[in-house]
């Protein structure tokens, strides 16, 4: 195995780790935030606007802003993960809100009339019916995160971006491609995987 191949494999693994951890956290936080936004529409709108704003910060600048912060900042993988979580939040939260708000009010009313508590309605009706939309959000967030994670190398986050940055510095297109192609392949794979889940969930609902 050549040095470059080993480097690519290592960087890909690191890339997957960063994106995986960030996505896990973004989903774990984003779905409850989305649910809370639906339940409290007024503060929910403010929260969505805030998350919207984060999305508008250029990614390189966001990494830069995080570096001086204590605990979550600094140089290294932690900063990279925090930035990716912030970026991935919007699609997950927004699609959770869209999915739940899109549940037919008559179906929601039937669930109330049958005697389900608020929690039972959420777990048995709203979330399952919102699933295709939520998977859609996760798909978009993951594809974005895989791309943005290449920039994490600028703050010492590692991953496939390391190869790209090094390639750019050395004017070495092979190295740039060695970083860019696996990143693109990962993005396509994630798109296909979550797209399939999205369709599977939708088919189960007959929509």
């Amino acid at each position: 195995m050549s040095d470059l191949t080993a480097e690519v494999l290592h960087a890909t693994a690191q890339h997957l780790l960063i994106v995986g951890v960030a996505m896990f956290a973004a989903i774990a936080a984003g779905i409850p935030i989305g649910i809370a936004c639906v339940r409290n529409p007024r503060s929910g709108r403010a929260v969505l606007r805030l998350i919207d704003m984060i999305q508008t910060v250029p990614s390189l600048a966001l990494f830069g802003f995080l570096i001086p912060l204590p605990l979550i900042g600094g140089i290294g993988i932690r900063t990279a993960i925090v930035a990716l979580i912030l970026y991935s939040l919007l699609p997950v939260v927004r699609n959770t809100v869209t999915g739940i708000s899109g549940v037919d009010p008559l179906i929601r009313e039937a669930a109330i009339a049958l005697g389900m508590t608020e929690r039972q309605r959420l777990m048995r009706i709203d979330l399952p019916l919102a699933l295709p939309s939520i998977f859609g959000g996760i798909r978009i967030a993951t594809v974005i995160a895989i791309g943005v994670a290449t920039i994490a190398a600028a703050v010492g986050g590692g991953g496939l971006g390391t190869l790209i940055f090094r390639g750019v510095a050395m004017v070495d297109s092979t190295r740039i491609l060695a970083g860019a192609l696996p990143a693109a392949a990962l993005a396509v794979a994630a798109d296909l995987l979550f797209g399939a889940l999205e369709r599977l969930a939708a088919r189960r609902l007959g929509v």
């Binding site: 179906i107 039937a110 009339a113 049958l114 005697g115 039972q120």
Partner: protein
């Protein structure tokens, strides 16, 4: 034993603050079957929604089985009140069996009891369990969906049954068929029935007492036999409208 219902001078307001039903009082004894008729917008649906807490009164009270309906345990109480709506609103991600099993599961019945009750209920509605249990609502016709809606509302034998124009979206033959099935179910159990409809013929078929509501107030409350002989002008108009002209 069916539930007793007492609505005492209840007023319900819409979102614009106007009263939809005004100072309405209605007492229904256990086992009675009451049809509420009226024109569109008369307040029929709101009256029905008062009885499962989907509408809340601004003033007055709603007493079911001797206890005020609205309170912290409203979800539990709704499990003993069957509601059938015009749109069956089945849960699209759940099979026919899972839809029908909703209330028994909430009541914590055993799997075996749930299965037995669901099977019996669906069979009585002419939907053989073996053929329909595993199907999803989207694969059913409108009439079949409404049957599942009825099964879902009645499977746990609620002592109070509320129906809001449950058959109005169905074709006349399926409709008639379901009315008959429904009457048989009503007669087979101890249930208090409140049935909202704008169709006088349907009201007379399913209920023994007719309440006419207009402009948010009760304008007539008569046994079915007296209703058809009433000289009340609005009742006459309803009866005239329901009459089929003779072929010349």
């Amino acid at each position: 034993m069916g539930s007793s219902v007492f609505i005492d001078r209840a007023t319900v307001s819409g979102s614009n603050g106007n009263a939809i039903v005004r100072d309405i009082s209605l007492r229904i004894d256990p086992g009675e079957s009451v049809a509420v008729i009226g024109r569109s917008g008369a307040g029929k649906t709101t009256l029905l929604r008062l009885l499962n807490g989907l509408a809340e009164q601004r003033s007055g009270s709603v007493i079911v089985d001797g206890r005020p309906l609205v309170g912290s345990r409203i979800a539990e109480r709704r499990r003993r009140i069957g509601t059938i709506l015009q749109a069956p609103a089945l849960f699209p991600h759940r099979t026919v069996f899972e839809n029908v099993a909703t209330v028994p599961r909430l009541l914590g019945w055993t799997d075996e009891r749930i299965r037995r009750a669901s099977e019996e209920m669906l069979d009585r509605l002419d939907m053989p369990f073996g053929r329909f249990a595993g199907r999803f609502p989207r694969s059913l016709s409108g009439g079949e969906q409404q049957r599942v809606g009825i099964a879902r509302a009645m499977v746990a034998a609620p002592p109070l049954l509320l129906c809001d124009e449950p058959f109005s979206a169905l074709d006349p033959i399926v409709r008639r068929d379901l009315q008959d099935t429904f009457v048989a179910l009503r007669d087979g159990g101890d249930v208090t029935l409140l049935f909202v409809t704008h169709d006088v013929a349907e009201a007379l078929r399913v209920a023994r007492r007719i309440v006419l509501i207009d402009g948010g107030a009760i304008v007539a409350d008569l046994p079915a036999a007296d209703f058809v002989r009433s000289a009340h002008p609005l009742i006459s108009r309803f009866l005239d409208a329901a009459r089929i002209p003779e072929a010349s």
